[in-house]
């Protein structure tokens, strides 16, 4: 177990190094520069002064080494935009993204698993086809278009739900208020992941239902309902845990669009604005943080899988 963790940690470091080097090269070679230098009203002396302040007058290699040096101490420098500490901004935004993606994930699980079970146990019936059809719609619909349709319906026409933000500004904390702001973005984000879960649950359960032990259980006269709930579903759930590893990067990616549309102050929105504004330190930090989140969640998923399925050992 210890050796396994060390091995994974080494792999993670390698992955992070590759990710950060690629990102650094990409953002540094991009045409244009930090938006504070690239306004219609900027003059050459202003741009020179700002380039010096931001350290852009130094060679690429020096900048990279400096960045690595401070990144190792978990210091991602200051934003090239409003010059705030990058760490501070990320710590402000990360919980918001985790809340949104977490809700979408829970929503996917709460809806996806039962839908997958229905689909698998009533194969080729109307309910199976319906579930299948909607899961395909889910993966095929452009997220931002779906978002706009939802806003038109629930905000503009029905005035049931707010279209933007995390809470009503200045209003006292209220769970209902927070949840009402979560509904639309979490729904849009969940549509990207829900179908995978449904499809995966369906095929895992179908596979379990074909196993000998199910036949045995049925043969000894156990009612079908109990065969399902006591044996098949429980076993099918175990591999479903692994699908989470695939869904997490997808959720983070989906957050880019969803947060932009719904004005959700998270990492996705930050990623868009700092990429467009060529805020290099911010872009680098977001990339590394996201990569870490993905790597750690993959590790957790693998460990959880081993824990849930005693046949698997890490040696």
């Amino acid at each position: 177990m210890g050796r396994y963790l060390v091995e994974r940690a080494v792999q993670a470091v390698v992955v992070l190094l590759v990710v950060s080097t690629l990102t650094f090269l990409m953002v540094s070679l991009a045409p244009g520069g930090p938006e504070i230098m690239m306004t219609m009203e900027s003059t050459p002396d202003q741009r020179e002064a700002l380039a010096r302040q931001l350290g852009l007058d130094q060679p690429l290699a020096v900048r990279y080494l400096k960045w690595i040096g401070s990144a190792l101490r978990a210091d991602f420098g200051r934003s090239f935009g409003d010059r705030r500490k990058v760490n501070e901004v990320i710590l402000e935004r990360l919980p918001n993204t985790l809340l949104l993606s977490g809700t979408a994930l829970v929503l996917s699980i709460l809806v996806g698993i039962p839908a997958g079970i229905v689909s698998a146990t009533r194969r080729y019936t109307l309910s199976d086809h319906t579930v299948t059809f909607f899961s395909f719609i889910g993966v095929s619909i452009p997220a931002f278009w779906f978002a706009i349709l939802l806003v038109l319906l629930f905000t503009v026409h029905l005035s049931w739900l707010p279209a933007s933000g995390m809470a009503t500004p200045g209003a006292p904390f209220s769970l209902v208020n927070r949840l009402s702001h979560l509904v639309l973005p979490a729904t849009v984000l969940a549509t990207a992941t829900l179908p995978n879960l449904v499809r995966f649950m369906r095929s895992a359960l179908i596979e379990e239902l074909g196993q000998d032990y199910v036949r045995t259980a049925r043969a000894k006269g156990l009612p079908n309902r109990l065969v399902l709930s006591r044996h098949a579903i429980r076993n099918a759930m175990i591999p479903v845990v692994t699908v989470l590893g695939v869904l997490i990067p997808r959720l983070v990616g989906g957050a880019v669009i969803t947060e932009t549309i719904f004005g959700w102050p998270g990492m996705g929105q930050l990623a868009v604005s700092s990429t467009i504004g060529r805020d290099y330190p911010m872009v680098m930090a977001i990339t590394v943080v996201v990569a870490v989140v993905v790597i750690v969640s993959n590790l957790l998923v693998d460990l959880a899988y081993g824990w849930l399925d005693p046949r698997i050992t890490y040696g």
């Binding site: 504070i36 002396d45 409003d82 010059r83 705030r84 809340l99 977490g102 429980r234 004005g263």
Partner: protein, 527 residues
């Protein structure tokens, strides 16, 4: 069992990370004014990151020396009066007495000097610095008198010190080295201290800024308790919230959106002329555009009334010059104009030696009339470029569209002057001083994008800055407009109207453009 525990752990983790977020506010405020901004603001008006999302906020937090008055002329703000020496090289501003900063300290000339020392420090690269480069130094004469010593006369200084030129409190920066001014987050990003009508109450990054009224405001205690700037990057979200009554007023920068709010109960849509023009800037160093008749022909090729009536929903006026009627006494209505006239355009082009080739595209000496048109993919420039291309093609001019995101547009096309033609717009202070936009000395380093170089125009723009009497300035700038209408440094397309929509509960907004109206926010009322 383990499955259930795993699920519980997952849900628990979610609850811990999630629902105790930062957006939880204090007690519910009395309903105030709510206005959308497109991103997180920076509360220092000289910060290099002080962009469009910040200007409305800082105009409420801070005061400049002057501001644009309700009767459309420059009036004192922190300055009570001013005078200029006969040689135009020394400006003396008398400051208002008894003004307090939000933290209760007194405002004095030291604060003004501190602020302009930041602006004049070339190592800091303060935003908007280009407008102040003629100021050599500032002198504190007494606590309520400040002098600007100029390296060259600049009659427009009264306007310039009133536009996004908020005065900062010196005491909020004590102990901070100048090179750390932009990273002084405690002031720039958290707790700004101004002299304005509203002071900082609460700021949640990515969500909103709420300001509360400053009872000690020298312009009079504001009528509305709070003003909230809500971060809403998406324009459709802005409209949806406005229609739902969550926003008090809305600034509409694309006329296409007017239809969404027009005719709704409780919504008032109104428009105002502004000192702003849209243009096609021809690169005057490009041989294609050096003949004046070619530039004139191009302006004749556009059916501007049709573009405005259709594409802009009527919210603009065809421009006769870069200077706009907002300038009133300085504006010259009697200049050459260019109606939509393709025959005239072809005739002018023929006079300049351009003959249609086999495919209808003009040629001269074996060269085709073909140029690349740079534009940013913001606002309505993308469809505008397609229209421009079509109108020019109809008179035999071929355009290659070269659209780019704003950053690339500025860094790769505009700043290095790497374009044949460029679509853009200028929002200018309400003063006829056009030096920075068309003087030959501003061709590489300033905002003279078309790199226009005309001796008479240069002289007029210099004389206009030197002139100390209004009558003299009127004469000079009227002549300049005549010249520009004929010689076309810019192909001025139109003067856009500012479009604002607000909830009918909102009263007392003066009939001046919204950026300036925010400086009179203490007079706004909510019924």
């Amino acid at each position: 069992m383990r499955v259930r525990m795993f699920a519980l752990a997952l849900v628990g983790l979610l609850l811990i990370t999630g629902l105790h977020g930062p957006a939880a506010g204090g007690p519910a405020p009395a309903a105030g004014i709510v206005f959308p901004i497109v991103g997180d603001p920076t509360f220092n008006p000289w910060h290099p990151r002080h962009f469009v999302e910040s200007i409305f906020v800082t105009r409420v937090l801070f005061n400049g020396l002057t501001k644009w008055g309700k009767d459309s002329r420059w009036v004192g703000d922190l300055a009570e009066s001013w005078e200029v020496s006969a040689d135009g090289l020394t400006w003396t501003f008398k400051l208002r007495r008894g003004v307090k900063w939000h933290d209760g300290r007194d405002f004095t000339a030291d604060d003004v000097k501190f602020t302009y020392d930041i602006v004049l420090n070339p190592r800091l690269g303060a935003t908007g610095r280009a407008a102040f480069t003629n100021i050599r130094e500032t002198r504190v004469v007494d606590p309520y008198t400040i002098q600007f010593v100029m390296s060259a006369p600049q009659a427009s200084i009264v306007a310039v010190v009133g536009v996004n030129a908020g005065i900062l409190p010196r005491h909020a920066f004590t102990g901070v080295a100048p090179e750390n001014y932009w990273t002084h987050d405690a002031f720039n990003k958290r707790m700004p201290i101004g002299t304005g009508a509203y002071k900082m109450k609460e700021y949640v990054s990515g969500a909103y800024v709420t300001l509360e009224k400053n009872p000690a405001y020298f312009g009079g205690t504001p009528a509305v308790d709070t003003i909230t700037f809500k971060v809403l990057p998406d324009v459709n979200a802005q409209i949806a919230q406005f229609l739902a009554g969550d926003l008090t007023l809305l600034f509409i920068d694309n006329p296409a959106l007017v239809r969404a709010v027009q005719g709704r109960p409780n919504v008032e849509v109104n428009t105002l002329p502004q000192n702003n023009f849209y243009y096609l800037a021809p690169n005057h160093r490009n041989a294609l555009f050096q003949d004046r008749r070619v530039r004139q022909a191009m302006l004749h090729a556009f059916d501007r009334p049709a573009m405005i009536r259709g594409f802009l929903e009527g919210f603009a006026t065809p421009a006769s010059s870069p200077l706009t009627p907002v300038l009133r006494n300085f504006f010259n209505p009697n200049v050459k104009t260019y109606e939509f006239d393709r025959a005239r355009a072809r005739q002018l082009l023929a006079e300049a030696g351009w003959q249609p080739g086999a495919d209808g595209v003009l040629t001269k000496g074996g060269q085709r009339f073909r140029f690349s048109l740079a534009y940013p993919t913001v606002q309505y420039f993308e469809p505008l470029a397609a229209l421009v291309q079509q109108y020019l093609r109809a008179v035999g001019i071929e355009t290659v569209l070269d659209g780019a995101d704003f950053n690339t547009f500025v860094s790769q096309r505009l700043l290095p002057r790497r374009f044949d033609g460029l679509l853009g717009w200028w929002i200018m202070p309400e003063d006829p001083d056009f030096f920075n936009y068309a003087h030959s000395s501003a061709a590489e380093r300033g905002f003279n994008l078309p790199m226009y170089n005309n001796k008479e125009a240069d002289e007029l723009m210099e004389a206009g800055r030197r002139a100390t009497s209004v009558a003299e300035r009127e004469r000079i700038y009227k002549r300049l407009q005549e010249l520009m209408a004929d010689d076309l440094p810019y192909l001025q397309l139109w003067w856009p109207s500012e479009i604002r929509a607000w909830n009918r509960r909102l009263k007392g907004v003066p009939p001046i453009h919204l950026r300036a109206a925010f400086q009179w926010v203490n007079e706004w009322k909510l019924e």
